[in-house]
C-alpha cells in the first residue's frame, strides 16, 4: 500500500508545458450610479490585467464583456448583453480543450424575487436559470463560477455539475445591499497577501478566503453590520486547486536530470509528510509534534535549497 501511494503521489508532479490551459470570461453588468460604473470597470480591467500580465494567460484566453466597450477597447471584447454572452460561451466551448479550466466572473448588481435571481445587464437581465444553461454548454470541463453581485446567493441552485464550483458574494438572494466581495476577490490576484500557502500562486480557493476575510474586516473597520456573507459550493476541491496562470509550484523541467527529479520527488514527499503530521497534531504531545515538525521543515528547506542550487 505504501509503495502504491508514493507511486500515485509522484505521478502528480507537474512537468512544465504539460499543464492544462485556463480560460477566463469576465462579465460586468450595469453599474447605474457613476461610482458603481467606475468600480465595476476598475475590477473588470484589473482582472484582465492580472490574468494576462501577472499570471501570463494568453490574451485570447480572456474575454471581457462590459457595460460600455468604448471605455477600454483594448481590454473589453464586447458589450455585456445576453447575445454576446451566449456567443462567448460558444467560443469557449468550441476553442477550449476538454480539460481546460474555465473561470467565469460576474460583476454587477443582482436581484432576487419571485421571478428568480438575476444579474442586471444592458438589455434583458441574465437569470440564474439562463446562466446555468450557458455553463452546462461548456460540457464536462472544470469550471468555477464567481458571482460577486448583490443578491447572488441563489445562483448556486442553478449551478450543479461534478466538475463545477460556484462562489457567490452573498449567502442568499435576501442579501440585497451592494457588495464589496468582488473588489477583494479581484485584489487577491492583483495584490500581495492571498497566497497563504506561499507556493507562488493564488488559487480561486485562496482568492475566496482572502475576499471573505477582507470583506469581514472591511465591515468591522467601519463598524457596520456585515450585510454580505459569501458562499462556496459544489466541487470545492476544484476551486482550491484552480489556478488561472502557470502552475503554483515551479514545475519539474522537462529535461530535468535524474538527480533533480529525485529532489523534486523528495520535496513532494516532505510536503506530504508535513501535511500528514499536521493532520495528526491533535493526537500528539506538543513537544514531540514540534520536534518532528522542525525536522521535516528543515529537511524540506534543505531539499528546496538543493533544487535551487541545481537550477543555477
Amino acid at each position: 500500500m505504501r509503495k502504491l501511494f508514493i507511486a500515485v503521489a509522484l505521478s502528480a508532479i507537474q512537468v512544465s508545458g504539460a499543464a492544462a490551459q485556463a480560460r477566463v470570461l469576465i462579465i460586468s453588468g450595469l453599474g447605474g450610479e457613476a461610482r458603481y460604473v467606475n468600480d465595476f470597470h476598475k475590477w473588470g480591467t484589473a482582472m484582465v490585467d492580472a490574468a494576462t500580465v501577472r499570471l501570463g494567460l494568453p490574451r485570447e484566453n480572456v474575454i471581457y464583456l462590459a457595460e460600455d466597450p468604448a471605455r477600454d477597447a483594448q481590454r473589453i471584447n464586447g458589450e455585456a448583453r445576453i447575445q454576446e454572452i451566449q456567443e462567448a460561451f460558444r467560443e469557449i466551448a468550441s476553442k477550449a480543450g476538454p480539460d481546460e479550466r474555465v473561470l467565469v466572473l460576474l460583476i454587477g448588481h443582482g436581484a432576487a424575487d419571485s421571478r428568480g435571481s438575476r444579474i442586471n445587464l444592458p438589455g434583458p437581465d441574465l437569470t440564474a436559470e439562463e446562466f446555468g444553461k450557458l455553463v452546462d454548454s461548456l460540457g464536462g470541463r472544470p469550471v468555477v463560477v464567481v458571482n460577486t453581485a448583490s443578491a447572488s446567493g441563489d445562483f448556486h441552485e442553478s449551478l450543479e455539475a461534478p466538475n463545477l464550483a460556484s462562489i457567490t458574494a452573498t449567502r442568499s438572494g435576501m442579501e440585497r445591499n451592494e457588495t464589496v466581495f468582488g473588489r477583494y476577490f479581484v485584489a487577491a490576484f492583483v495584490e500581495e497577501g492571498a497566497d497563504v500557502d506561499k507556493n507562488g500562486g493564488v488559487t480561486v480557493g485562496e482568492a475566496f478566503d482572502y475576499a471573505n476575510a477582507e470583506t469581514k474586516r472591511s465591515y468591522e473597520s467601519t463598524n457596520q453590520l456585515q450585510m454580505e456573507h459569501s458562499r462556496i459550493e459544489g466541487n470545492v476541491e476544484l476551486a482550491r486547486s484552480f489556478t488561472i496562470g502557470a502552475p503554483a509550484v515551479a514545475a519539474l523541467p522537462a529535461d530535468a536530470s535524474p538527480a533533480v527529479r529525485t529532489l523534486y520527488e523528495e520535496r513532494q514527499r516532505l510536503e506530504e509528510s508535513v501535511a500528514a503530521l499536521r493532520a495528526r497534531s491533535a493526537t500528539m504531545e506538543p513537544a514531540a509534534y514540534q520536534a518532528e515538525l522542525e525536522r521535516l521543515l528543515l529537511e524540506l528547506a534543505r531539499t528546496n535549497r538543493s533544487i535551487q542550487d541545481g537550477a543555477q
Binding site: K198, A213, E214, N223, L270, R278, E294, L297
Partner: protein
C-alpha cells in the same frame, strides 16, 4: 393551576365566596387616588347609615393608603380583616392576628383574605411549614370556584407567590391570577401593583415599570405603585427619578414605612447616614415590627461599625422571625454597595444557612463570589439560586455570561491574572501585560500600598457582557469596574475607535483597587472616582486634560453638588452629563488637595475612611477646614484655573470660527479658533478648535502648523484616534520619524484593531532601531489574524532575529512554515537560524 385535590385546611372557603358586600358608593374616588374625597364621602355615608359596610371599607382603605392608621383601626371596628390589616401596618401583630382569626371564623366576604393574612403572619414569624400548607389550600380554592371576585384572584395570586418560593413552576400561575384579577376589574390598581412587585422581585425592571405604569394611570397617587416605580427606576440607575417618586409616595402617605425604609436605603447609597438614621427611626416609630426597616437599620449599624447596635437589631428580628434571612441579605447587599464584597459574601452565606430556600440570599452570595473572582463558587451559588427562582433576570444574565467564559483564555503574569477573549488574546496580551505592570508599579509607589493578592483583569469584547458583569443587565454605559482585586472592562474592540481609551480605563480601575485596599473598602465613591480619574493622567507623563467648557458651565450654574456633598453627584446624577461632570469635578478636587495639601493628605484621608470616619470629620482633621470652608476654598481654586466668564466668549469664538471654516474663509476662521483654543483647547461636546485649525493649515499647505495643532489636540484628548493617525502621516512627510512613531503609538494604544497603523509602526520602529517595539508590533499584526498569516509570522520571526531572540525567531518561522511549508523566504530563514546555532 397545577392541582385538583383535597382542599387542605379550609374546604368550606370556596362555598363562602359568593357572599359579597353591598355598596352605597362606587368607590371610584378611592380607586383613582382622590383620597380626601373618598374619605369625606364615605364618612358622610357611614354617618347616614352606620351599617353601610361598603362605604366603611372604602373609608378604611383610603385611611390606610394615606397613613391615618389609628383612624383606620377605629373605622374598621366592625370589619375584623381590615382592622387586622391596619393593626399589622403599625406592628400590633398579636392584635392583628386576633382580628384575622375573627374574620376567618366569620362566614363573611373577607374570609379568604383573612385566611391568607393569617398564613402570611405565620410565614413572617418563621412558621413556614404551616404557612405553606395554608397557602397551598388557595390552589384548591382557585380550582374549585367558578365565581371568584377580582380581590379573590389577587389574594390567590399572593398565596401562590409564596408557594413559588419552593415550587418556582408556579410563578406563571401567580401572573395568571393577577391577570384574571385585572381582567375582572381593570380599574383596580391592586393586581397591577402586585404584578409590578413580582417583576421587581425578579429584577425585571421593564416589565415591572410597564404594569406599575398601568397602576399609576388608574391611581396616580397610590403610594405602593409610586414606591414600586421608584424601586424600578433606582434599579435602572435613575436615582433622581426614584427619589422624586418615593417623595411623592410619602407626600400621599407620610407614614408609609416601606417608603421610609427605601429612602433610608437610598441615603445609605450616598453615605448620607444621618438621613438614613432619621428615616429608619421614623419608620420604626410607626411600625416597630417592620422587618424591612429593621433590616435596613441593621445594615446602617453594620456599615457604620456600630457592632452593639447591629447585634441588638439582629436580636430584635430573631425574636420576630428566627429564620428570617432578609436581614442578612439586606446587610450583604448594602455592604456590597459599599464595595465590601468579602463581608457581603460572608453575610449572604450566613443567610443561606439560616434559610436554605432563600434564593435571593444564594443570588447575593453568588454575585459577591463572582465579584471576588471566585468563579466556580459563584457559578454554584448562582445555579442554586436559579434552580429555586428561574425567573430572576439578573441571575440568568450572570449565568449566561459565565457560560461564555469558555471563550476566554486565562493568562498569568506577575501580580495579575488576565482573562482575554480567545479571538483577542494574541493581539492584546503584549499591551495589557505591559500596561498592567506599569500601572501596578506606578500606583503602588504613589499610594505606598499594593493589592493584597493577584489582580484579575477581565476584558470583554461585547459591552453587553461587561454590563452584565457589572450590574447584571445589558445596556450600562460604563467602561470599567473595580471590585477590588477583580477588574472588568470593555475591550477596545467593544467600542468604536476614538470613543474609548481602554488604557486610561485600566489605570482608573486599578486606582480603585489601590484606594479600596488602603481604605479597607471604605472609601466613598466620589473620592475614589476622583483619585482614579486623576490617576488616568499618569498613563502619559505630562498629560494634563483640559477643563472642558461643558463641565465648567454645569459647575458654575450650580448643577453639581459642592465638594462636601459630591457623592450625590455619583449616586443621584440627574443626567449622564451630570455624572460625567461629577467625575471631572472629583478629579479636580483630588488635584486641588494634592496641590494645596500634598499627596500625603490624600493617603491620610484614605486612612481616615479606613477607620470608619465620615467625610466631614476627615475634612476637619486632614484638610483642617469645615466642609463649607472646603467648598468655598475649592470654588476659588477652580475659578482661578478656568474662568466661567470665558465660556460665553469661547462659544462665540468657536461658533463664528466654525462658520467661517465651513465657508472656507480661513483667514477669518483662524484667529477666532486660535483664541478659542487658548481659552478651552478641547470640548467634550463640540470637538476641538485645534481639529479645525489643523484642517485649515493643511488646506493652506502648512503641514508644520497642522502638525502642531494636532499635537496640541492629541496631548489633551486621550481618545483622539483619528487625529493621531493623521498626525503620524503628516510628521512622516515632515521627516519626523520619532514624532510619527509617537503618534501611532498613541493610536494603537487607543484602538489596536486596525492593521495599517501596526504595520507602519513596525516599519518606523525598525527605522528608529527599537527592535523590541518592532517585535511587539509584529506580534500585534499576527494577533490581528491576517489572511496571509504565514507572511505575518515570517515578519515576526525576522523581528525576533533582529532583536537577538533566536529562539523566538525560530519558533515563529516554524509557525510560518507550518502554515505554508513551501514558503521560500521562511525556509531560508529557518536554515540560517539553524546554521547560526
Amino acid at each position: 393551576m397545577r392541582r385538583v385535590g383535597p382542599a387542605g385546611g379550609f374546604l368550606l372557603l370556596a362555598s363562602l365566596l359568593l357572599a359579597r358586600p353591598a355598596g352605597c358608593q362606587d368607590g371610584s374616588a378611592l380607586q383613582e387616588g382622590r383620597y380626601e374625597e373618598a374619605i369625606s364621602v364615605a364618612t358622610d355615608a357611614i354617618g347616614d347609615e352606620p351599617n353601610d359596610s361598603a362605604s366603611r371599607r372604602i373609608l378604611v382603605r383610603a385611611l390606610l393608603d394615606v397613613g391615618r392608621y389609628e383612624e383606620a383601626i377605629a373605622a374598621a371596628a366592625p370589619l375584623p380583616n381590615l382592622r387586622g390589616e391596619a393593626l399589622r401596618t403599625i406592628g400590633r401583630l398579636a392584635e392583628a392576628e386576633d382580628a384575622f382569626e375573627e374574620a376567618a371564623e366569620a362566614a363573611g366576604a373577607d374570609q379568604l383574605t383573612a385566611e391568607f393574612n393569617l398564613a402570611e403572619m405565620l410565614y413572617n414569624r418563621g412558621e413556614k411549614r404551616e404557612a405553606m400548607s395554608r397557602f397551598d389550600a388557595f390552589i384548591d380554592v382557585y380550582n374549585a370556584s367558578a365565581d371568584l371576585s377580582p380581590a379573590d384572584f389577587t389574594t390567590i395570586g399572593n398565596a401562590v407567590w409564596y408557594l413559588g418560593t419552593s415550587e418556582p413552576e408556579l410563578f406563571p400561575d401567580v401572573v395568571l391570577a393577577f391577570d384574571e384579577a385585572i381582567a375582572a376589574d381593570p380599574r383596580n390598581a391592586e393586581p397591577h401593583i402586585r404584578m409590578g412587585e413580582l417583576f421587581l422581585e425578579k429584577y425585571n425592571s421593564p416589565e415591572a415599570q410597564a404594569v406599575l405604569d398601568q397602576a399609576l394611570q388608574i391611581n396616580p397617587n397610590h403610594p405602593r405603585a409610586l414606591l414600586g416605580m421608584a424601586k424600578a427606576k433606582a434599579f435602572d440607575g435613575q436615582q433622581g427619578e426614584a427619589l422624586e417618586l418615593v417623595r411623592r409616595a410619602l407626600e400621599v402617605n407620610p407614614n408609609f414605612v416601606p417608603a421610609r425604609a427605601f429612602l433610608a436605603r437610598m441615603a445609605l447609597d450616598t453615605d448620607d447616614y444621618a438621613t438614613a438614621r432619621s428615616e429608619l427611626t421614623r419608620a420604626l416609630e410607626i411600625n416597630p415590627a417592620s422587618l424591612e426597616a429593621l433590616s435596613t437599620l441593621a445594615a446602617l449599624h453594620f456599615v457604620r461599625g456600630e457592632e452593639r447596635q447591629y447585634r441588638d437589631v439582629r436580636s430584635r428580628v430573631e425574636q420576630l422571625n428566627p429564620t428570617y434571612s432578609g436581614l442578612l441579605t439586606t446587610v450583604a447587599e448594602i455592604a456590597a454597595q459599599q464595595r465590601r464584597y468579602a463581608e457581603a459574601a460572608q453575610l449572604a452565606g450566613e443567610a443561606t444557612s439560616l434559610d436554605p430556600q432563600s434564593w435571593a440570599s444564594h443570588a447575593v452570595l453568588g454575585l459577591n463570589q463572582f465579584r471576588l473572582g471566585q468563579i466556580e463558587q459563584a457559578r454554584t451559588s448562582l445555579e442554586r439560586s436559579f434552580e429555586g427562582d428561574p425567573y430572576n433576570v439578573w441571575i440568568k444574565n450572570n449565568l449566561d455570561l459565565l457560560d461564555t467564559f469558555g471563550e476566554y483564555e486565562l493568562v498569568s503574569v506577575p501580580g495579575f491574572e488576565l482573562m482575554l477573549h480567545q479571538d483577542e488574546v494574541e493581539l492584546l496580551r503584549p499591551y495589557i501585560e505591559h500596561a498592567a505592570a506599569q500601572a501596578h508599579s506606578t500606583l503602588t509607589g504613589r499610594y505606598g500600598d499594593r493589592p493584597r493578592g493577584r489582580v484579575r483583569i477581565e476584558l470583554y469584547p461585547r459591552s453587553a457582557d461587561f454590563s452584565v458583569r457589572t450590574v447584571g443587565l445589558a445596556g450600562m454605559g460604563a467602561l470599567g469596574v473595580s471590585f477590588g482585586d477583580v477588574l472588568a472592562l470593555d475591550s477596545p474592540s467593544a467600542r468604536e475607535a476614538g470613543t474609548y481609551n481602554w488604557l486610561t480605563t485600566l489605570w482608573h480601575e486599578l486606582g480603585h483597587t489601590i484606594a479600596l485596599g488602603v481604605s479597607n473598602n471604605r472609601v466613598p465613591r466620589w473620592f475614589t472616582e476622583g483619585l482614579s480619574t486623576l490617576d488616568e493622567r499618569l498613563t502619559q507623563p505630562g498629560w494634563k486634560p483640559s477643563i472642558m467648557p461643558e463641565f465648567l458651565k454645569m459647575y458654575d450654574e450650580g448643577e453639581l453638588p459642592p465638594v462636601s456633598r459630591l457623592n450625590e453627584g455619583f449616586i443621584r446624577p440627574e443626567t449622564p452629563q451630570h455624572l460625567g461632570s461629577a467625575y471631572i469635578m472629583a478629579s479636580l478636587v483630588g488635584e486641588w488637595i494634592e496641590e494645596t495639601r500634598g499627596f500625603d493628605a490624600i493617603v491620610e484621608m484614605l486612612h481616615g475612611y479606613r477607620e470608619g470616619r465620615a467625610t466631614e470629620d476627615i475634612f476637619r482633621s486632614v484638610l483642617r477646614a469645615e466642609p463649607t470652608a472646603i467648598d468655598a476654598e475649592f470654588d476659588r481654586w477652580l475659578r482661578s484655573r478656568a474662568d466661567p466668564a470665558s465660556i460665553e466668549r469661547w462659544e462665540d469664538l468657536y461658533e463664528r470660527g466654525r462658520a467661517a471654516f465651513e465657508e472656507e474663509n480661513f483667514p477669518a476662521a483662524k484667529p477666532l479658533l486660535e483664541e478659542a483654543a487658548s481659552l478651552f483647547p478641547v470640548s467634550g461636546g463640540r470637538g476641538s478648535p485645534y481639529s479645525l485649525l489643523a484642517q485649515i493649515h493643511l488646506r493652506e499647505g502648512n503641514r508644520r502648523a497642522a502638525a502642531d495643532a494636532l499635537i496640541a489636540l492629541t496631548s489633551r484628548d486621550d481618545r483622539a484616534y483619528a487625529a493621531n493617525i493623521e498626525l503620524a502621516g503628516i510628521l512622516e512627510e515632515l521627516g519626523d520619524t520619532a514624532g510619527a512613531a509617537a503618534a501611532l503609538e498613541r493610536a494603537v494604544w487607543i484602538f489596536p484593531f486596525e492593521v495599517q497603523p501596526h504595520a507602519r509602526l513596525a516599519e518606523l520602529y525598525t527605522e528608529l532601531d527599537q527592535p523590541d517595539l518592532v517585535v511587539r508590533e509584529r506580534r500585534a499584526l499576527v494577533g490581528l489574524r491576517p489572511t496571509d498569516r504565514a507572511e505575518a509570522l515570517y515578519q515576526l520571526a525576522l523581528a525576533y532575529q533582529a532583536a537577538g531572540d533566536v529562539s523566538g525567531a525560530r519558533r515563529e518561522v516554524l509557525r510560518a512554515l507550518e502554515v505554508a511549508p513551501a514558503f521560500d523566504e521562511a525556509q531560508q530563514l529557518l536554515l540560517r537560524l539553524h546554521e547560526a546555532t
